[in-house]
C-alpha cells in the first residue's frame, strides 16, 4: 500500500467517524441543558418570569430580590412584560394598592407606561407585603391590601349615605349622536387660576387654560348597582378622560371621588333624532366637570 492509499483510507474513516460523532452529539444525545438561566426561557415563559417577579414584589416589597431575579433578563423584555402587566391590572380593575406597588417598582427599574401616572401621583408610598390569604377556590378574588382600600367597590349602594355637595361643577353636558353603544364620556379638569394683575409687558402672554386632571375617581350609580372609573387611563384621548357604558331606561347619577357626592342625577340614555325610515340611534353623553383651582 502506498502513501496515497494509506491517506485515503485514514481520511475516509475520519470523515465517516466525524459524521457519526456529530449525529450522536447533536441528534442522539445532545447537550442537555438543565442549569439554565431565565434569559434562555422561551419568550412566553420569560414574560411570565418578569410578571411573577413583579407579583413577588407586591408581597414582599424586596427590591434587591427583584433586581437579582431580573438581572439575567434583557431590559426590553422586562419593560414590555412590566408595561403589559400594569396595563392589564389597570384594565381589570385590580386593587389600586397592588397597581400602585407595581407602578412604584416599575418606576424604580426604569419602566414607564401611561397607566402608571395615576398611581404614582399619590402621596402615600406603596405598602407591599400585607396581603391576606386568598380564598383557595376563587379564580380571581378581590384582594384587599390594606384595612381601608383606596377604591372600595361596594356590591350594592342602596341605601346610599347622605349626599353631600361636590366641589366639582358641570361645565357642559352635550348629547353626541356619533357611534354606539351609548356611553357617558367625562372630562375632568381644573379651572385656570384667577389671572393675577399683570404688567403691560406680560399682557401678550396667553392666559392659562383648564388643566386636565388624571387620577380622579368617578362613580356611576344606578338603582341596585354602581361602576367606577379613573381618569387618565386613556391619555391619548385626554389625561382627564374616562367613560362608562350606559344601558337604556336606567337612571344614573355621576359622582366624583365618592359615590355619595353626585354632580349629575337622573341621567338617562337619549335617542338621537334620525332621518325618516331609519332606526333611531342612542346618543352618548359628553360631560365636562371642573373644580376650582386650589390655592
Amino acid at each position: 500500500m502506498n502513501h496515497r492509499g494509506t491517506f485515503l483510507i485514514l481520511a475516509a474513516g475520519a470523515i465517516l467517524g466525524l459524521m457519526l460523532g456529530l449525529v450522536y452529539a447533536w441528534l442522539i444525545d445532545p447537550v442537555d441543558l438543565y442549569n439554565t438561566t431565565p434569559d434562555l426561557l422561551r419568550s412566553d415563559y420569560l414574560h411570565e418570569w418578569v410578571r411573577l417577579t413583579a407579583l413577588g414584589y407586591v408581597v414582599d416589597g424586596n427590591v434587591e430580590r427583584v433586581q437579582a431575579r431580573l438581572a439575567p433578563v434583557n431590559d426590553a423584555d422586562v419593560q414590555a412584560a412590566f408595561a403589559a402587566l400594569i396595563e392589564s391590572y389597570a384594565t381589570q380593575g385590580r386593587p389600586a394598592e397592588t397597581i400602585r406597588a407595581l407602578s412604584y417598582l416599575a418606576e424604580q427599574i426604569g419602566v414607564y407606561t401611561p397607566a402608571m401616572d395615576i398611581y404614582l401621583g399619590a402621596d402615600a408610598p406603596p405598602t407591599p407585603g400585607s396581603i391576606p390569604s386568598p380564598s383557595p377556590q376563587a379564580p380571581i378574588p378581590t384582594v384587599v391590601l390594606s384595612p381601608t382600600p383606596t377604591f372600595p367597590a361596594p356590591p350594592t349602594l342602596s341605601p346610599l349615605p347622605t349626599p353631600r355637595p361636590s366641589p366639582y361643577r358641570v361645565v357642559t353636558q352635550t348629547l353626541l349622536c356619533e357611534g354606539t353603544p351609548p356611553q357617558l364620556q367625562v372630562l375632568v379638569r381644573q379651572a385656570p387660576p384667577p389671572a393675577p394683575p399683570v404688567d403691560e409687558e406680560e399682557q401678550e402672554e396667553a392666559p392659562l387654560g383648564p388643566l386636565p386632571l388624571p387620577g380622579v375617581v368617578l362613580w356611576l350609580t344606578w338603582p341596585g348597582g354602581a361602576d367606577r372609573a379613573v381618569t387618565g387611563l386613556r391619555p391619548l384621548i385626554d389625561p382627564g378622560y374616562a367613560d362608562f357604558t350606559l344601558e337604556p331606561d336606567t337612571p344614573y347619577a355621576l359622582s366624583v371621588d365618592e359615590p355619595n357626592a353626585p354632580v349629575i342625577s337622573g341621567l338617562t340614555v337619549q335617542t338621537c333624532p334620525g332621518e325618516e325610515g331609519t332606526q333611531p340611534r342612542l346618543g352618548t353623553w359628553y360631560v365636562v366637570l371642573e373644580i376650582e383651582a386650589r390655592e
Binding site: M1, L10, I15, P30, V31, T37, L55
Partner: protein, 122 residues
C-alpha cells in the same frame, strides 16, 4: 489488508472524537427556548416562590397549578413542598415558608412539617 482495516478504524476513531468534540464542546446545540423545569436550582426555587406569591396576590389556583405543572406535570404540588421543607431545614425566611405552605395547602399536598405555617396568613 489488515493494515488497511486498522487505518480505517483509526480514522473512524479520530473522526468520532472530533465529532463529539465539536458537537458537545465547541459547537453544541444552542438552546434558547428553554422551559422553567430546566432552570438552575436557585432560579428554580425562585420560580416556585414567585408562583406562591402570585397566588397570594391573584388568588388564582388554576394559574398556580398550570405554572407548577411546568416543573412537575404529575404532582404540581411536589416542588412547593420540597422547597418549603428545604427552607424550614435551612432556617429560611418565615414569610416565604408561609407563602409556600398556604399554596401547598390550597393544592392539597401539605405535610405535617408545614402545618405550623398554615395557621395564619403570611
Amino acid at each position: 489488508m489488515r493494515k488497511a482495516v486498522l487505518l480505517a478504524l483509526m480514522g473512524l476513531a479520530l473522526g468520532v472524537g472530533a465529532g463529539l468534540l465539536i458537537g458537545w464542546q465547541l459547537w453544541p446545540v444552542s438552546y434558547t427556548n428553554t422551559a422553567p423545569h430546566q432552570l438552575r436550582q436557585d432560579y428554580h426555587d425562585d420560580y416556585v416562590l414567585m408562583v406562591a406569591a402570585a397566588y397570594q396576590v391573584e388568588g388564582n389556583l388554576n394559574a398556580a397549578t398550570d405554572r407548577l405543572s411546568l416543573l412537575d406535570p404529575e404532582t404540581p404540588g411536589r416542588p412547593v413542598i420540597d422547597l418549603a421543607e428545604r427552607l424550614i431545614a435551612a432556617d429560611g425566611g418565615e414569610q416565604d415558608i408561609r407563602l409556600l405552605a398556604h399554596l401547598a395547602q390550597a393544592l392539597g399536598v401539605t405535610s405535617p412539617t408545614l402545618a405550623p405555617y398554615t395557621d395564619a396568613a403570611p
